[in-house]
């Protein structure tokens, strides 16, 4: 853990600050990956949603209220860039982030695969909410939720496993060995 690196007279405060800076660096990296690398990876419907991954990682290490605020802000950004139904993404991201933070606190999900599942379910649930609120119905909804959303959720969950495996100390997320 990072605590040993910063032990000193103002130990706990400095450690907490260092952890926040490291977590912010990882989140900034994910945002950069989303906008600078994701477009190069191929179809936007299959490549990992790094922004959603960052949001769920924030939710996992935050209180539900703070997670809801983060979700609202990320959703608002999504609405600005895909304004098919303005407000749909804000609503969906708020609910998913809140549920992720609450679920993590309740279910003690300190396992890498459980966290990956949480990320995948979060992406799928986000898509469900956005599509329903946007008025997508019938067969189009089934196709999206049965094919494209699971593929996006899977790729995002896999990216989440990699990020958690590499940066779990920086993100201050405890996982079972």
């Amino acid at each position: 853990m990072a605590g040993g690196l910063c032990a000193g007279r103002r130990g706990p405060v400095t450690v907490e600050r260092a952890n926040r800076i490291r977590a912010a660096a990882v989140l900034a990296l994910l945002v950069a990956l989303h906008f600078a690398v994701r477009p190069r990876l191929g179809s936007p419907r299959l490549t990992p949603d790094f922004l959603m991954l960052a949001l769920i990682l924030v939710a996992i290490r935050s209180r539900p209220g703070a997670a809801a605020v983060a979700g609202f802000l990320v959703g608002l950004l999504g609405d600005a860039m895909t304004p098919a139904r303005f407000g749909a993404a804000a609503l969906a991201h708020t609910l998913v982030a809140y549920v992720a933070a609450w679920g993590r606190a309740v279910f003690f999900a300190d396992n890498l695969l459980v966290n990956a599942g949480l990320i995948g379910v979060g992406v799928w649930l986000r898509d469900l909410l956005v599509l329903v609120v946007s008025g997508t119905g019938g067969r189009g909804l089934l196709l999206e939720l049965g094919v494209w959303s699971p593929l996006l959720a899977l790729s995002t969950a896999l990216a989440g496993v990699v990020v958690l495996a590499i940066f779990r100390n920086w993100l201050d997320i405890r996982l079972e060995e």
Binding site: A80, M81, T82, G87, T94, L95, D127, R174
Partner: protein, 280 residues
């Protein structure tokens, strides 16, 4: 691992959630102008560096493929261009003989499509070109294959396009040859395999065979005449004795298109297949 009971829930968390939900629902249920204003404000401020990053990435991804396509197109055009001066002369003489004015040409702004991760990406698209490039609201957006949509809101560096998959999209259209006119709209209900269009308002007496190309008619003034929209693949439904609605397979898939042209000034799309007598 033990958790702090206070972490599970608190009044503060509930208040924050309710505030966020209220704001989201206000954005969702409020007038569309509010959402457009907030979205445009975000695209002009916090999203600028993010869009800049994505635009560079899109350019990098497509540059090699576009270079090959451009080289191929340039070779083809070079061959065709050899006969152009003679055709121009001949065209000018014929137009002078018939008393016609000069043919209008289309002006356009090229733009990258910045695809997003949300599942509604495709109903609207974000373009890398905006007001600073000469793009205005309500301008047609086309790909080499045909119609993509129309610009809805425009910022200095980016523009939002309402594509043909958007439920509110409509375009006046006619069939190749000019026999049948109608309104093209997204198919309802949506197809299981692919999003389709419908050619509506076709009189019952008019029959449109499968495979007929549907083009924009120019009526309404937004879309110029002659942009390919799609191909008729069958009858969707019919009101006996009144009208037929035809299913149309679109020429462009907005979900995969990566490079488009915004037509900033046009009267006729330069397609050879456009009949001159279509303006009824």
């Amino acid at each position: 691992m033990a958790r702090q009971p206070a972490r599970l829930h608190s009044a503060r968390d509930t208040v924050l959630l309710l505030v966020c939900l209220t704001l989201s629902l206000t954005a969702l249920l409020g007038p569309r102008e509010w959402g457009d204003a907030v979205g445009a404000g975000l695209r002009r401020t916090v999203a600028v560096p993010l869009l800049w990053l994505q635009e560079r990435a899109e350019e990098s991804r497509t540059s090699q493929a576009r270079f090959r396509a451009l080289a191929s197109a340039r070779d083809s055009v070079a061959v065709l261009a050899q006969g152009v001066p003679m055709l121009h002369t001949e065209n000018d003489r014929l137009r002078a003989l018939l008393g016609l004015g000069r043919r209008m040409t289309a002006r356009y702004v090229p733009a990258e499509v910045l695809h997003q991760a949300l599942p509604t990406d495709g109903r609207t698209l974000l373009l890398s070109a905006g007001g600073n490039d000469g793009v205005l609201p309500l301008q047609p957006v086309v790909a080499p294959e045909g119609l993509v949509g129309v610009t809805r809101s425009v910022g200095p560096h980016a523009a939002v396009v309402m594509t043909w998959t958007h439920p509110e999209f409509r375009v006046s259209a006619f069939t190749q040859g000019g026999e049948t006119f109608g309104i093209v709209a997204p198919s309802v209900p949506e197809s299981a395999r692919e999003p389709l269009l419908e050619l509506r308002g076709v009189p019952y007496r008019d029959s449109v065979p499968d495979g007929t190309v549907v083009l924009s008619s120019g009526v309404g003034g937004v879309f110029p005449k002659g942009i390919p929209i799609g191909t008729v693949i069958g009858v969707a439904r019919e009101a006996t004795g009144w009208e037929r609605v035809y299913q149309v397979r679109p020429t462009v898939n907005p979900g995969t298109v990566s490079h488009v042209l915004v037509l900033t000034q046009s009267s006729t799309w330069p397609a050879d297949s456009v009949p001159d007598d279509a303006d009824r």
